[in-house]
């Protein structure tokens, strides 16, 4: 994976990116295999290296529970930021949509690394905040659109 495509490493030098990647370990995932499940303890952050990982939430449909895909992550994209953000519980389920590989960065290793390299810690945290902020803005907009529709549905 080219370092240029890793959103978590945006702004880092090549050396800093290599050092950051060295903290992680590649995990292969079979198609349909869960990377993490909603509610599980989050002690790592992941970057997709190959394939595609679907983020899902359960919906109750016809007295059953079905996983509905909210978004999919492609190579270079970050998932599992709950690993760095309290209360460190995953709020979605991640499942490989294809045979995939993700790089797993344990929280403890990242925090140790950031402690000795605050500038790297700052940039990675800022990149993570951008990922989180974008998710928040997208879902806030989606929520407002649904709310608007609901108001029209009830009061038109």
């Amino acid at each position: 994976m080219s370092p240029l495509h890793i959103e978590l490493a945006s702004g880092l030098s090549d050396e800093e990116t290599v050092a950051l990647l060295a903290l992680g370990k590649t995990l292969p995932l079979r198609r349909g295999e869960h990377l993490f499940r909603l509610g599980a303890v989050a002690d790592a952050v992941y970057v997709v290296e190959q394939g595609r990982v679907a983020l899902t939430l359960p919906m109750r449909i016809r007295n059953g529970e079905e996983e509905v895909v909210l978004e999919e992550k492609s190579p270079g994209e970050t998932l599992g930021w709950s690993g760095l953000v309290p209360p460190h519980r995953f709020t979605l389920t991640a499942t490989a949509a294809l045979p995939s590989e993700v790089r797993c960065f344990p929280r403890a290793a990242l925090l140790d690394h950031f402690r000795t390299r605050p500038a790297v810690g700052y940039l990675v945290t800022a990149n993570l905040a951008a990922v989180m902020g974008h998710r928040l803005q997208v879902f806030q907009t989606m929520w407002l659109r649904e709310m608007q529709r609901s108001v029209e549905y009830r009061y038109a």
Partner: protein, 102 residues
């Protein structure tokens, strides 16, 4: 004396007629009673929790198709939200996703 009595009786009669007419005229008007103040019942906000009853979807629709529809809706809504964030306008915020898809 007779004349005096006639005038007196006519006056009493006229007074009685006036009193009867007045009571008839004002009989329907009642003073407002003091009642406890009525306040409009305000429903709690339940936009998502209790939508009005609508025809249920056909249970014959396969679950896979239903899930596909839900996920398609999410994808379109996400695309609409991304487009709004790229250039926020009021029209863009509430634009129907079907229009974007075309």
């Amino acid at each position: 004396m007779l004349m005096f009595l006639s005038i007196l009786s006519m006056s009493v009669l006229a007074l009685a007629v006036c009193a009867a007419a007045f009571s008839l005229a004002t009989g329907g008007v009642r003073q407002p009673e003091s009642r406890p103040e009525r306040r409009p019942v305000v429903e709690p906000p339940q936009f998502f929790a209790a939508p009005p009853a609508r025809p249920r979807p056909d249970p014959q629709i396969p679950l896979e198709m239903l899930l596909g529809d839900i996920e398609r809706h999410i994808r379109l809504e996400q695309a609409a939200a991304e487009a709004f964030l790229a250039g926020p306008t009021l029209d863009g915020l509430h634009e129907r996703p079907e229009r974007r898809a075309n």
